[in-house]
């Protein structure tokens, strides 16, 4: 069964066309990540799905119901915001129960769901506290708890980890992944961070300028990007792009090669000069210059190389991605 169907969804603010003919299907239980640079319309799309913005045209279906004109609270969704958006004057328990009270659920149901959610998120000790007395990570858990208690058909996450520090971000990421496994609910997650997208998603939707660039599993997108934008957006460090002539090829305009596919060897045909070395311990990123183009080489393990040294590289033929002048992928 499909959890969400978008058909030719458009959204304009005055003259600004923010979403252009969006078509997406999300299956039940799928974890879908919308990813793209800031201003690509991913948050607007989420808000259209939530009902906080109306689509200018097109169909939004949640389950089998057309919800274009349904108010947010009746759509069977729950949303977690970047800024947590907890009610400051209510304690944790009341934050979580407000929506259920609005739905006029019986007391026992509310009680049961709150204890279920607080057990899942380790919030049992904090139920009587106010948001101002909680740390950032705890607030985010309360925000997630507020979504869980509603038993929604669709979870919406709007950059939920952006306000957390790096260590907490990783923990919470794992918690969200576990939560998805436990609840087996359909989830949509918006982020500009490709690491979050790659690690969490069953399916990634890459957006740019209000258009869907490509949809697929993380590895599909990584191994088989449809165009230069997707190739450059996913993967860290980002893919290197060089004019085809530099690599002595013709028939394409630009050639992309991932930093880990460039191999340093004494006899390599490509000569580069090291400009900067990032030693991470586990691996080493070398930023080098080749014919006036900056490239990144990712070496596994520790690699003794100094700024200004010469580097010989090979770029295996079968690891090259070829793009035409407009950025489209050439596959042959």
């Amino acid at each position: 069964m499909t959890a969400l169907t978008l058909r030719n969804v458009n959204k304009s603010f005055g003259d600004v066309h923010v979403l252009k003919d969006i078509n997406i299907d999300i299956e039940d239980g799928e974890f879908v990540v919308f990813v793209g640079p800031s201003g690509c319309g991913k948050s607007t799309l989420l808000r259209v799905i939530a009902g906080l913005e109306d689509a200018s045209s097109g169909e939004v279906r949640i389950g089998d119901d057309l919800v274009n004109t349904t108010p947010p609270s009746k759509r069977g969704i729950a949303m977690v915001f970047q800024s947590y958006a907890l009610y400051p004057h209510l304690n944790v328990r009341k934050n979580m129960t407000l929506a259920l009270k609005q739905e006029k659920q019986p007391k026992e149901v509310i009680e049961e769901r709150v204890s279920e959610a607080s057990r899942m998120l380790n919030l049992e000790d904090y139920l009587e506290r106010y948001p101002s007395e909680l740390s950032g990570g705890q607030r985010q858990r309360v925000a997630i708890g507020r979504a869980i208690v509603r038993h929604p058909r669709l979870f919406l996450f709007d950059e939920p980890l952006s306000n957390l520090d790096a260590a907490l971000r990783m923990n919470t990421r794992i918690e969200i992944a576990n939560l998805h496994a436990q609840l087996s609910a359909s989830m949509i997650y918006v982020t500009h961070d490709q690491t979050e997208a790659m690690t969490l998603a069953d399916k990634i939707v890459v957006l740019r300028d209000g258009r869907v660039e490509q949809v697929g599993s993380p590895m599909e997108l990584y191994n088989n990007p449809a165009n230069k934008f997707v190739a450059g957006f996913l993967g860290s460090p980002a893919m290197n792009f060089l004019p085809a002539s530099v690599l002595g090829e013709d028939g394409s305009h630009t050639i992309g090669i991932r930093p880990e596919d460039l191999k340093a060897s004494g006899s390599g045909p490509l000569k580069a000069t090291v400009r900067h070395v990032e030693e991470l311990g586990g691996d080493t990123n070398v930023v080098a210059e080749m014919d006036g183009h900056t490239i990144t080489v990712r070496m596994f393990g520790q690699f003794p190389v100094k700024q200004g040294e010469a580097l010989s590289l090979t770029a295996p033929e079968d690891r090259r991605y070829r793009f035409d002048a407009s950025g489209g992928r050439i596959t042959s």
Binding site: R47, A50, G51, L52, P71, P72, S73, K74, I77, A78, M79, F81, Q82, S83, Y84, A85, L86, Y87, P88, H89, L98, A99, Q102, E103, Y130, P131, S132, E133, L134, G136, R139, R146, D158, N163
Partner: protein, 279 residues
């Protein structure tokens, strides 16, 4: 920590300046207060002296209280001030919420129109207002004053509050919408508590001019049973003889309710409830 801020010399200077200002600001009030407890002769002989056993007298307060209607005036002033503030804050906050929250055609224009009143003194329209009040039969009622003061206070209230309403997190309002709160519930339960400090500011700004106003009570409600305190005190100021004891006593007593209202609102100025809402 910032060194300049903890420098004892700076702190002393700062406190010195503040204390000096406080003394200057409180001095006239102090003079009124001490003279209200003195005999008429003592007021004129040594206006700045404290009342002593010789000059102490409650004659002013006795005169005022014997005047009979004084408590009625008091009550009128209080009703007018509180009701006007209530309407200014309620409608001001509602308009501010609408202006900052909803996109509609002419939003900016509407905002400018509502702010126009800041620049045009309402007293220019006194004749028209009087005509309207006569036509609606509101002359010599407290409602006439409440309506005029509400209109007078709204422009500034809308202007200040819409700035604060814009700062109320969109996410919070959207979370409310997703949780099934109505727009009214979002306004009253989420937005209003967060702009409380701004509302207190608006209330304080509006309260004093309303309480002290003589113009509109004199024109719109001069009848005995709806006289406000300021208007009522004018009976002691004659063209030839002024009962200074009574005037000073009446003024002293008039300070008290404003003081109480001010304390109530200034406590609201203390922030803290907003922290933890977002971020």
């Amino acid at each position: 920590m910032n060194k300049a801020r903890s420098n004892p010399l700076n702190t002393t200077l700062m406190h010195g300046a503040l204390i000096l200002y406080t003394l200057i600001a409180l001095f006239p009030v102090f003079v009124i207060l001490i003279n209200s407890f003195k005999t008429r002769k003592a007021i004129f002989r040594e206006p700045l002296a404290l009342p002593n056993s010789e000059s102490f007298s409650l004659i002013g307060y006795e005169t005022v209280l014997k005047q009979g209607d004084f408590f009625l005036y008091f009550q009128n002033s209080f009703i007018v001030t509180v009701a006007s503030l209530f309407f200014v804050l309620l409608f001001g906050a509602m308009a501010a919420f609408a202006l900052s929250e909803y996109r509609f055609k002419g939003n900016t224009l509407m905002g400018l129109y509502l702010a126009l009143g800041i620049m045009i003194p309402i007293r220019i329209g006194t004749v028209a207002i009087l005509e309207m009040m006569v036509a609606t039969g509101l002359v010599n009622t407290l409602w006439a004053l409440i309506l005029v003061y509400t209109a007078q206070g709204l422009p500034l209230a809308v202007f200040i509050l819409s700035e604060f309403m814009r700062n109320v997190s969109d996410d919070l309002k959207n979370a409310g919408r997703i949780d099934g709160l109505s727009e009214y519930a979002i306004f009253f339960k989420l937005a209003l508590p967060l702009v409380r400090p701004a509302m207190a500011t608006v209330a304080v700004f509006n309260m004093i001019p309303i309480w002290n106003d003589l113009w509109f009570p004199l024109i719109l409600a001069p009848a005995e049973e709806v006289k406000t305190l300021t208007l009522g005190s004018q009976v002691f100021i004659g063209q030839f003889v002024t009962n200074w004891n009574a005037v000073l006593s009446a003024l002293s007593m008039a300070i008290i309710p404003v003081l109480i209202l001010y304390v109530i609102f200034s406590r609201q100025l203390i922030r803290g409830i907003t922290s933890g809402a977002v971020k």
